[in-house]
Structure formats: structure tokens, C-alpha cells
């Protein structure tokens, strides 16, 4: 659905995106992660034909965005962080204005979408009277109007309260399940990405440093968390016995192949080490992300 090949964007002398290859398949929820200024918004801008790539190819729905913008964006909806509307007009007028940039939209379709996002009864009110959550719903409505196949969400939960974030998350899941949309989600909220996305890409300083499934991201060497009276001494003993291959952080050991926690416990108890805790160390997306960022620091 989205394909970037060696996409590069230079602003003045600064390279915002460097040699980015990205593939988002139809029907998946794809997460785009990265710190502020990592190049996420620039990449999204290139996908939407708002930012011209310096080099490389950007295709959406099989069409090159720079040369066939109309065909590429015909079935695309997008939401940006802190969505902006014409505050002095009603929600309905805003939807009508924005939808007409794509194609004629019937009143029935407008009503259907307003109903879908739960704004029925408030659509005639001026947008300046809307709460942040209502604006988020209006943003979703305008994105859904062209009956999109692809939805690009750039920080959709930005500025929402916890309830709003939860609601937005449920809506994204609903969109994918009920309407079968392909969704590209750019977010700072790792927890959100972890709960929603099937695949992710991580950008750092304009370069892609990881692309894969969430399972691949959190999969790691089977570290075991060990808490004992003297971790260094215990680790030394276990290493001498060939039960672990390495240890780190004064709390984690990596068992050798075929060695389970039970063998570690037996060996330590036999040498009178008290064991307060032993458990497999699960890696969260946050751990993975932070490690990735640390590794890539100059």
C-alpha cells in the first residue's frame, strides 16, 4: 500500500530523511516510531505529497506520489497532531469543505460518517465550541469521508486525555476490523504502538534503524533476572560452571543453550547463595526502543 525506496529529503543543509526503504502491506497497522525530529513527519509528508523528496521513490496505492498525486491520494485519509479546522464554521461545514477537495460527497455520507464518529447532534455547532476530543473525532470524520483504503495517522492521540487516548485506540482497532483499512500510525506513545501495531519501523536521525514485526522487536536473548546476596560472585560461579554465557546490569544472566532457571537455582543453592528472585526477563517495546536509541547514539 505504501512503498518508499531510498527516499531522501534534505532541508537546506540538513538531511531529515536518509535512504528510507519502507513497505506497508494492505490491511496492516504499521507503527512509525522515532524521537522528535527523527524524520517521521517528513516521511509522512512525502507520502502525502506535501514534502518533495530530494531523491528516491514514494508510492502510495501503487502510484508515484510526486507524479500521480491525484490517483495516489484518492483513497487516502489522514489525521495530523492537533488537527486544525476553520473554527468559525460548523463541524458540518468543515467536513463539507474538506471532502469537496477529494470528490463530491453526499449529505447521506456526511451524516453516516458523523454518526460513525459519534458527533451526531453537535455537527451544526461552531468548531470553536468543540472540546479537544470532539476535534479529534471531527478529524477522524474528515479522514473517513473519502472512503479511504489507507489511513495515515500522525500522532492522533496528541493532546488527548487518558480516556481520549483509550477511545482513539479502540477506534483505530475498529477501523481496521470493520472497514479493513490499512493504517500507518506515527506515535510517541510506545504503549499505544505496542497494543495496536503488527509491524513497526524505528527512525533515528532520519535513518531507519529497525523494521520488523512487534514480536521480532521484543524478542531477545533469553535473559534471566537474578536477585541474590552477591550477584557478581554468583555470576562468576555460574560462568565457571558453563551455565551462563554472559551477565549484565548487576541483575541479568544469559543461560547457556539448554540450561533452564532450575539448573541455575540448583547450582547456586548448592553453593549457599540465597536466591531472592529468579525470573525470565521480558523485553517491552519501550526497552527495545530505548536500547535501540542508546545503541545508535554517536
Amino acid at each position: 500500500m505504501i512503498s518508499l525506496h531510498q527516499a531522501r529529503k534534505v532541508f537546506g543543509g540538513r538531511c531529515a530523511v536518509e535512504g528510507l526503504d519502507l513497505e506497508v502491506a494492505r490491511g496492516e497497522i504499521f507503527g512509525l516510531l522515532g524521537h522528535n525530529g527523527a524524520g517521521k513527519s517528513t516521511a509522512i509528508g512525502m507520502m502525502l505529497g506535501q514534502v518533495w523528496p530530494t531523491s528516491g521513490a514514494v508510492r502510495v496505492g501503487g502510484y508515484e506520489v510526486t507524479t500521480h498525486r491525484h490517483q495516489a491520494l484518492r483513497r487516502v485519509g489522514a489525521i495530523f497532531e492537533s488537527p486544525v479546522f476553520y473554527d468559525y464554521l460548523s463541524g458540518w461545514a468543515n467536513l463539507e469543505i474538506l471532502s469537496h477537495y477529494t470528490a463530491p460527497t453526499s449529505q447521506a455520507r456526511l451524516r453516516e460518517v458523523i454518526d460513525w464518529v459519534g458527533l451526531t447532534g453537535r455537527e451544526k455547532g461552531k468548531v470553536r465550541t468543540y472540546s479537544h476530543g470532539m476535534r479529534a473525532r471531527l478529524a477522524l470524520a474528515q479522514a473517513l469521508l473519502p472512503q479511504p483504503e489507507l489511513l495515515i495517522l500522525d500522532e492522533p492521540s496528541d493532546g488527548l486525555d487518558p480516556e481520549g487516548i483509550h477511545e482513539m485506540r479502540l477506534t483505530i482497532i475498529r477501523l481496521q476490523r470493520e472497514l479493513g483499512l490499512t493504517i500507518l500510525l506515527s506515535s510517541h506513545l510506545l504503549n499505544e504502538v505496542e497494543q495496536l501495531c503488527t509491524r513497526i519501523a524505528v527512525l533515528n536521525r532520519g535513518r531507519k534503524v529497525f523494521e520488523g514485526t512487534l514480536a521480532e522487536a521484543v524478542r531477545q536473548k533469553d535473559w534471566v533476572r537474578l536477585r541474590t546476596s552477591d550477584f557478581a560472585a554468583a555470576a562468576k560461579v555460574l560462568a565457571e560452571l558453563g551455565l551462563i554465557t554472559e551477565h549484565r546490569d548487576e541483575r541479568l544472566v544469559a543461560p547457556a543453550a539448554g540450561v533452564g532457571p532450575d539448573a541455575l537455582v540448583r547450582a547456586l543453592v548448592a553453593r549457599e547463595f540465597p536466591i531472592f528472585e529468579i525470573a525470565p526477563e521480558a523485553r517491552t517495546l519501550e526497552n527495545f526502543y530505548l536500547e535501540l536509541m542508546k545503541d545508535k547514539q554517536p
Binding site: 517528513t42 509528508g45 491520494l73 495530523f80 468559525y88 473519502p146
Partner: protein
Amino acid sequence: MTMFLFQLRNELWKLFGKKRTYIGFIMFLVAQNAILILLRFSHVPKQMARLLQMNGVMAGGNYISILTLGTMMVALIGLSLLPLYAALVGGDLVAKEAEDGSLRMILCRPISRLRLLMLKWLAGVLFAFTLVLSLGLFGLLFASFWFPWGGLFVWPPNFALFNATEGLHRYLFMSVFLLPKTVTIMTMGFMFSCCNMKPAAATILALSLMMISGILQQVPFFSDFQDWFISYHVDIWQSVLAARIPWWKVGQSLSILLGYNVTFLVIGTVMFHVRDIKS
């Protein structure tokens, strides 16, 4: 075509839905009434009568009239406030949307940048038309509250007298030829608005260029070069108040203004097309 009309209607909704769009109209009403009240209750009518007598028109004739005072008002506002509001709206058209962030919302839709600009520019032209129309109509209306119907008397650049029918024609001509001026200034503001700058900067740049042109045009040493100054050509509305309208000059200035407008649009379109739209 239907789609284009829908989109144009939407641009007009956006333009006329904003309160700041009406600043110009409101200030016109205020300025027109202030000027009229000052004229009515000052010694200006007597001075005008004296000027008419000096030119052989006895007892002021019937020339201190709706048309004369209406023309004075339109002329004063056309020289001062009109360029300001034209530049303000032109400078706002694209830059304000870029500044607010709504341009990003629009440009994630499959509309070409050229089409979007043409829609906005046309909305600006319609605004200019409305502004000029209201200036002309309200000028006559408010003048009718204080002065009688009669002939038209104009001075400077040249002293000229017209009977009521001819005077009304000249008044209408003047209003019509204020439109190229308003559209040209609006388009200049629009051109700057297409670049990556704040709306206020676009407005100020357009006004500054007009003022620089006006200043240069006033320098006696440059009188041979006045054809090169845009301010000279936008003032064709003054030519239609001459005793004999120099149509060749009007046609020449209109052609040059057309060239200016096309140039501004092309530059604006190119600048807008190559720029990146970011938050």
C-alpha cells in the same frame, strides 16, 4: 466544472466566514460617514463653491452634490484604505492557512496545488469585486443623506464638470476601474502569501512595493519613467474623471496590469509548487 464551483463556494465560505474579512467593509462605512459629516459641517462646501465660481460656475451651480461628494469619498478611500484591505486579504489567502495548519489538512487530499491556488485567487477576486462594489454603492447612499442630487465636479488633476447623467456614468466608470487596482494589489499580496512567510509579512511586502512605486513615481526626475511604475497604472481610475477620457492610456494600463497580474500569479504558483508544506 461542478466540482470547481463547489470548491469555489467553499473558498468563499472560508473567506466570508472570517470576521477579519469584514474589517475593510466596516472601516469603509466608518470612513465614508466620517468624511461626509466633516464635509457637511465644515466650510468645505463654501470653498468648493468659491472654486466653482472662479471657474465660471455661478453660485456653485448644482455641483456640490451626491456625485461630487461620493466621488471625493471613493477617491480618498481608493487611495488609502482600499490598497490596505486588498493587500490584507491577498496576503492572508494562502499564508494564513499555512500558518494555522489547515493547509496540511487540504493538501492531504488529491487536489493539485495549482487548482487550489486558482480557487483561492478567484475567491480573492470576488472579494475585491465586492469591496469595490460596496465602496461605490455606499458612497452614493451615504452622500445622499447629506447632499442633493446634481452634477459632478472634479479637481485635481484637472478641473472638470459633468451633468448628472454624465457624472453618474463617470462615477460608475471610476468604481469599475478601481477593480483592476484592487485585484492587482490583492494578487501581489497573494503572490507573497504563496511563499513561506507569515500573512502579515506578505501584506506588508505588497503594500511596501506599492508605496515604493508611488514614491518613485512622485520624484520629478523619474517622470520619464512613470510607465514603469505599477502605481502609475493602478491609478487608471483617475483617468476616467478627466474631461475627455484617454482611452488609449486606460487600455495601455489595463494591458500592463494584466501582465503584472499574470506574472504575480505565475511567480506565486511556482513558489507554492516547489515549497514543502510542513507543520
